[in-house]
């Protein structure tokens, strides 16, 4: 359920970008998923396939790179890499992180096929 919502957002963003480039078909999509999103990669790929059905991105491959957490301590300013279940600052022991990486989902790149390419492809 969680992954389906995220997959739907990825498909929407993909279709928008692909259509703006006059693409007929998307063959692959690369995303970066932050650890804070608690995404299961396998579930995300399955959800992506379901959400992409009937769109320009139908059948496209989803490449997922997971981005580890990085935080700046709001108390002492230390930059550190928290674990997903322990946000304590190594310097002052406060757990008051501002996450500077690992909290977003980024659409990185899309591989497209244009109409001419599809027709011109060798058989």
């Amino acid at each position: 359920m969680h992954e389906l919502g995220i997959a739907t957002e990825i498909v929407n963003a993909t279709v928008k970008a692909a259509a703006a480039h006059g693409a007929e078909r998307v063959s692959a999509v690369a995303v970066e998923v932050g650890a804070l999103q608690l995404v299961d990669v396998e579930a995300l790929c399955a959800a992506f396939a379901a959400a992409a059905a009937g769109t320009l991105a139908a059948g496209a491959r989803l490449d997922v790179r997971e981005v580890p957490l990085q935080a700046v301590c709001r108390v002492c300013g230390t930059t550190y890499a928290p674990a997903i279940d322990d946000y304590q600052c190594p310097r002052c022991h406060a757990a008051d992180p501002e996450f500077v990486a690992g909290n977003d989902i980024m659409l990185m790149s899309i591989d497209l096929e244009t109409a001419e390419e599809q027709q011109g492809e060798p058989h």
Partner: protein, 215 residues
């Protein structure tokens, strides 16, 4: 084949909508509090009691549920303006749904908007609705391991309510464990013991709300 480098946040569109909600609330002089927890932790009951007690602060509720308007009916019985948002399959409220809910309120008359999120400990945590504050509930019957198991919900909270503390004498529940787990995920938010049965923590909760008021 050609590759387009997009490099844009998939969450940015939602964040922009959340910012619009926030700007709208601020312009009306209202503060929004997003209330999050598992189903059954006591969100609706807390808000029922709160609306009745907060006679000096005009408040409204946007209440999310997958189905039914039962919570809205319970809340509307207090006389406060209440909007039910049914999300169907959606596991959390979205900023769009909150915007539609705000359309149905007379914001000029309201100082405090509670948003009762869908009961879920994972999905709502990652979604900014444009609220000023987040309150997370953990109820005693859920068990003392839930902060460790669902750190993201509690990490993003400004206040954590330990709900149903009237049950502490009858359930095996280690408050010290909860405090230790919280020390790992959030040292900014106070942990407040609450019971709607005994009224414990009610004065502190109301004081916390009153001090959030935008003058």
């Amino acid at each position: 084949m050609s590759r387009i480098e997009v490099v844009s946040s998939v969450l940015a569109a939602n964040e922009a909508k959340a910012e619009q909600n926030k700007a709208r609330l601020h312009a009306a002089g209202a503060v929004a509090v997003n209330v999050l927890s598992a189903p059954g932790s006591g969100k609706t009951t807390l808000l029922q009691h709160t609306l009745t007690a907060l006679t000096d602060l005009p408040a409204a509720v946007l209440v999310g549920d997958l189905q039914t308007s039962r919570d809205a009916e319970r809340l509307a019985a207090t006389g406060a303006p209440v909007v039910q948002i049914n999300t169907g399959q959606g596991c959390h409220l979205t900023p769009d749904q909150v915007a539609e809910g705000l359309d149905r309120l007379d914001l000029e008359q309201i100082k405090l908007v509670f948003i009762e999120n869908i009961g879920n400990m994972v999905c709502p945590a990652g979604v900014d609705l444009g609220e000023d504050y987040r309150v997370a509930l953990l109820s005693v019957p859920e068990g003392d391991d839930k902060i460790a198991k669902y750190p993201t919900l509690f990490q993003a909270a400004d206040l954590i309510l330990l709900s149903k503390v009237d049950l502490l004498p009858v359930l095996p529940f280690n408050v010290a464990q909860v405090e230790a787990d919280l020390a790992l995920v959030n040292t900014r938010a106070p942990l407040l013991r609450r019971s709607t049965l005994t009224g414990e923590g009610m004065p502190e909760w109301l004081a916390w709300l009153r001090s959030r008021r935008r003058s």
